[in-house]
Symmetry: C2
Subunit: 503 residues, 2 copies
């Protein structure tokens, strides 16, 4: 029997890989519909602060909206609470570029003031992205972060299409670095990033911009990306995004402890305090069942590689079709989505482009190709969301012009916006419960209707939705929505309801 | 801005990696306490047969025991059913070496007859392992497989200890090859195999025994092993074990579809038919909820790296302690397990060694160090389960001798067994319901008490333990649902409705 060769022992110290902990933001956004209350998050903060993370994502994304819409919480109080409880950690937020945390473009002064206030209240690292990957939609927010003296992380939204290439992503990284990015994030919101492209893209970025810190953010929905994180590290990635094991997997993220363990024996190491990790996980293991009503049912879904349709988008389209008595059209719509996406110039499918493309696909199947066009889809076709990765279909652009009575633009969308801050401040000032702060004006700017309701109910204090789904959400004004027949899953059974907004 | 180097395009065809599908055996053993009925497995067989798998694990392990103990099914009927429904697939089973599918050593003639009958009934590939990694406990079963003209897969149980090294595993691989192994399986039943050791061990085996097919079997409990499978392939692994996504993750295995997708763009490819995979997954997505009461609660658990205690073993110890009114001793017992394991010479912790070591740890904490010793632990200390990976603690061996009034052995345990087949056949022949077949004698040999009960009730036919799921309730049958206030997302906006079942 031959003797095997000895394994070569590396004598140099392993390269340290940073970890960004996602449990306070993206984990519960992805797993529990962003419903976790500040109170339930606080108990883990001391351990998170001391665990040795590179950064702690804890704010932004959908949490701001969720705070005021569902939890009667002031998101700025949440941020200050985190700052107080985690004095040592680098706090990180997700910012939708020129959209801030809302769903439209804001004029530059609003962006400036939002970023400044976020910094003032304790934010350290701003991860800035745009759903279209149009750098012009990031540049003002990035500059605002730099002006506030904070860390600007420029983000590449990863997607797959005939026009998306490693070279294209590297070019975008260069544009972000040119606008002052302190680091680059490769953001894989749909768990599409496979090991080989993860390796190729990170390696190419590091070869060209070697001293730039590269973060890799993957969801775990497809069950592929734990391996992608390892290959990204082999290619030179500096920071990986993970979530503590008790709040991991499914449409969430790869488990923090597993990523730490994964690196053992390699030329890389993630130095986190395992006692702290155990304590953090124990905390969330206790808390998570309180939010069982909001749990995503997805365990693993590889269908997205073929359909390009993220899970959330699929269930949304299914509801739309059911409400139109056309549940049998799901297959046809799924086949139509890539066609519509191609016509729109292959945008990444992420909020809001996923909803816009999905709804148009439904309309195409139900009413004929572009026989009806949503205003949002016309806007995408005409450049009002920014440049598209590939040229748009000229015939569909023509239909969009007719349908919307708007002209195509090729400037940065926000350049068309008139100053709006003083108007917003004046309008906010008229609302009952407005506290006079710039933070409140920002809340109003991003969510005008919800803000009005929130300001008036704020004094009642936070209302957790944990364990009390039936009683929790206060009644909203919903006059714009018509009566609908909807199929609703409840305790594992699907039932058809006729639903009607409360007058 | 510098231009990145072009990615090198490989012009050679990617190396094909085989996949062993586990859904018919280990997946439901790990996730649903081995409770799935043949009837519920059958619906996927045509698709499994045609999907292009290297092999289909469908029998052995705990399924035989479960068939007769819980499902009133004849395991031989199950095997013949699989053979009939999957005429093209290579059927594979897990065999515990000299223990067959039972919990003691059997005399060689029983082993011969079991293997012969399994082959006669349709088995192609026998994965043979021993909990102690003692090759002498595998050699007779391996020879029996070769004598039956079937594929003998020699198995290395992977574990971590101060005495387990890459070199040691390679040596064991050589011993298995010397006894005629057609392939080698690196079996990681506790999800302990991290990417670097996966790479090192597979690579070392391939360097020494290059033309030997290497299979890698990992569980997913620790959330680490998807990456380990990729590194194993990079090191030369030929076959990976996976389970269809609808029956994956947690204490089960990495999802088949995810492993296929993971390889895209690499120098390796797993060529499976994606339509078939979708159909298999759809089948089990429908079936799995019927077994919800047997679901493992583990999502991901990295604690095992520290405690060495697999999830199943931990819950077993917790029950033992509770029954002794000593639930507060869990921490003490967890600390004692590695101590007891060391005294026993670092056996891998897998059935039955995990239970034996765990129970002795409980006894040590409750009654004092080795103040009481189980018969099984004495047997391990005295060599009655085979050789241990490291020398055993001499003082504890002495106590075992005293406690059990037995002498240590260093021969192959089965060498001490007298011929037993004719006795077994005679005893089985006296049981009500015995059908006169050699298969029934084997059932009696392995599970004497359970066999007696099963033979007498067999005529009643299979008794599924699945809960029949209520069909989606018709509108009229929803009276049990109360009126609720729900927040519903529709066209990107979330609105609160009061919903009420249609009367």
């Amino acid at each position: 029997m031959a003797t095997p060769k000895k394994t070569v022992i590396t004598t140099t110290a392993p390269r340290k890989v940073g970890i960004t902990e996602l449990v306070l933001r993206d984990a519960h956004q992805s797993l529990l519909a962003t419903r976790m209350s500040t109170e339930d998050l606080m108990g883990a903060c001391a351990d998170i602060d001391a665990a040795g993370y590179w950064s702690v994502e804890c704010w932004g994304g959908a949490t701001y909206d969720s705070c005021i819409r569902f939890l009667n919480e002031d998101p700025w109080v949440r941020l200050r609470t985190f700052r107080r409880l985690m004095p040592n950690a680098q706090l990180q937020m997700l910012l939708r570029g020129q959209n801030l945390l809302g769903y439209r473009h804001y004029q530059d002064e609003v962006v400036d003031r939002f970023v400044k206030k976020s910094a003032d209240n304790g934010m350290d690292i701003f991860r800035v992205f745009d759903a279209m990957n149009d750098p012009r939609n990031l540049q003002h927010a990035m500059a605002a972060v730099k002006a506030a003296g904070k860390h600007a992380q420029g983000t590449i939204c990863y997607t797959i299409s005939p026009v998306h290439t490693t070279e294209g992503y590297v070019k975008l990284a260069g544009q972000l670095i040119d606008m002052g990015a302190d680091s680059i994030c490769l953001k894989d919101m749909a768990a599409l990033l496979k090991p080989q492209p993860a390796y190729d893209i990170v390696r190419a970025i590091k070869e060209v911009y070697g001293d730039t810190v590269v973060s890799v953010h993957c969801h775990s929905t497809t069950g592929v990306t734990q391996a992608s994180l390892l290959k990204a590290v082999e290619a030179g990635a500096d920071v990986l995004d993970t979530s503590i094991s008790a709040m991991s997997l499914g449409p969430g993220h790869n488990p923090t402890e597993s990523v730490v363990e994964m690196l053992e024996g390699t030329a890389y190491v993630a130095e986190l305090n395992s006692d702290r990790l155990r304590a953090i996980s124990a905390h969330f293991k206790k808390i998570r069942p309180k939010y069982a009503e909001f749990e995503s049912k997805t365990l693993v879904d590889t269908g997205i590689f073929e359909s390009q349709i993220p899970g959330g988008m699929l269930s949304n389209m299914e509801s739309q079709l059911k409400s139109m008595d056309a549940a049998d059209k799901v297959e046809a719509v799924m086949a139509e989505v890539p066609v519509v996406r191609k016509a729109a110039g292959y945008p990444p499918l992420v909020t809001p482009s996923s909803q816009i493309v999905g709804t148009q696909a439904v309309f195409n199947v139900m009413f004929g190709k572009y026989a009806r066009m949503t205003g949002e889809f016309a806007d995408i076709m005409l450049g009002y969301y920014g440049a598209s990765p590939a040229p748009r279909d000229a015939a569909v652009v023509q239909l969009a012009k007719t349908s919307s009575a708007k002209q195509p633009i090729d400037v940065r969308p926000a350049d068309l916006l008139p100053p709006e801050w003083s108007t917003l401040a004046t309008e906010a000032g008229k609302l009952a419960g407005f506290d006079g702060s710039e933070e409140d004006v920002l809340t109003y700017a991003m969510f005008p209707q919800v803000a009005e309701k929130f300001f008036s109910s704020r004094a009642a204090g936070p209302k957790s939705v944990a364990k009390e789904l039936a009683a929790a959400p206060p009644v909203a004004a919903t006059a714009a929505l018509a009566e609908e027949t909807l199929a609703i899953s409840y305790e594992g059974k699907t039932t058809t309801f006729r639903v009607k907004p409360l007058a």
